[in-house]
């Protein structure tokens, strides 16, 4: 065993370790994330999110637009995050819209019931 260290080797190892902790690198182009985000937006629109959740839907769409710009600049990590967020934003917009629609349907039927009940009462009098 040699008593001293080889300086260049140590430095290389250190640099490598630092690089690995700093960031995992840009990774591949987030094509599948882009697809998922866009299809989530389409589904949200099909759930009438444009009418019931326009703010959240816009947020999702803006994130996709920003992500596209980042992809052009090859900033894939940041782009991937935005796309992942856009996907859940759009899903939430769709889910909230469906809840809202169901709530309205309940209210409408209850209204209808109330009218029927009044008619029945007035007919019986």
């Amino acid at each position: 065993m040699k008593p001293h260290l080889s300086l260049p080797r140590t430095l290389t190892t250190l640099a490598l370790a630092t690089l690995m902790t700093a960031c995992a690198g840009p990774g591949p182009k987030p094509d599948s994330e882009l697809q998922s985000a866009e299809s989530a937006i389409k589904q949200a629109e099909a759930s009438d999110a444009r009418q019931f959740q326009p703010v959240l839907l816009n947020e999702a769409m803006n994130k996709v637009a920003d992500a596209r710009a980042l992809i052009d600049e090859e900033q894939y990590t940041q782009a991937r995050r935005l796309l992942e967020q856009a996907e859940v934003d759009a899903q939430l917009a769709g889910a909230r819209s469906e809840t809202e629609k169901a709530q309205r349907a309940v209210a409408e039927i209850n209204n209808n019931i109330e009218n029927l009940r009044q008619q029945l009462n007035s007919n019986q009098q």
Binding site: L5, T13, T21, C23, V106, L116
Partner: protein, 268 residues
């Protein structure tokens, strides 16, 4: 050679560990995501209808927690916490929606029952109305003929060879007036007839005067003239033979044809 390599690794590892230890283990976004998850973890509606999203929320939450403990980039931690929280809310919304859908089917059922009840009430009312009408017609002694309901005022209800109604005749007309007040859409056609004794012209006039006399009595009872038509037929349309006195008496009569509910009357 080997030892330098391992020393290098050891150094790198220690840098990593120091990095970890200095990172705070608390993060507001992760805490928020955790409480969002815990709020719905036991929700039966979410369990029934949002389980996939709930699982996703749990996965992302664990990942955010692990990243936090590993001292990963704070942006990455908060990003994953964001995903966890979104998934939790999506699960919550899906649960809410499923609950509402159930409510919709139960209130829809209630609505259908009320509609049925209403229909049967309406049918009942219509039946009761029809029954009441039949009873009224029976009270009037009106008869169902091919021209509709016809009420016949016999000769005995008039003074002999005159158009004036006797009291019994007036009572019959009063019942008809009551009926017409109750059924506002009904109209009447009053037709006078005589037997063939005497001059046809005289008989024609007498039949007309008797019909008008009934019309007058109806109007005196408050029935507007617009709902009454009169016609004298004289000797025409006998209902019995004019060869016997009984037959002639039957022929001397006033017939009141009651319209249908749309107000139309079939004339001769």
């Amino acid at each position: 050679m080997n030892s330098t390599l391992s020393i290098g690794f050891a150094l790198g590892l220690s840098v990593l560990m120091v990095g970890c230890a200095s990172t705070p283990q608390q993060n507001a976004s992760v805490d928020e995501a955790r409480s969002a998850y815990m709020a719905i973890e036991q929700d039966p509606n979410v369990a029934r209808s949002g389980s996939a999203q709930l699982r996703q929320a749990k996965l992302e939450l664990d990942r955010a927690q692990a990243l936090l403990e590993d001292g990963a980039d704070i942006n990455q931690v908060e990003h994953v916490a964001y995903l966890a929280q979104r998934h939790a809310e999506i699960a919550l919304q899906q649960g809410k929606r499923a609950d509402l859908e159930e409510e919709i089917s139960s209130v829809e059922e209630r609505r259908k029952q009320l509609m049925l009840q209403m229909k049967s009430n309406e049918a009942n009312e219509a039946r009761m109305e029809a029954e009441a009408l039949r009873a009224e017609m029976a009270a009037l002694k009106a008869e169902q003929t091919e021209r509709g309901m016809v009420l016949t005022l016999g000769d005995v209800l008039f003074d002999l060879n005159k158009a004036d109604l006797k009291d019994a005749g007036k009572r019959s007309v009063e019942r008809l007036a009551d009926f017409m007040k109750q059924y506002q859409e009904r109209r009447v056609l009053i037709e006078g007839y005589t037997d063939s004794t005497g001059a046809a012209e005289y008989n024609q006039k007498l039949s007309e005067r008797r019909a008008v006399s009934v019309q007058q009595e109806l109007m005196d009872q408050g029935i507007p003239g617009s709902r009454i038509e009169v016609e004298g037929y004289g000797e025409a349309y006998p209902v019995a033979t004019n060869d016997t006195s009984a037959g002639r008496q039957q022929n001397r009569r006033v017939e009141i044809v009651i319209s249908d509910e749309s107000g139309s009357i079939s004339t001769r």
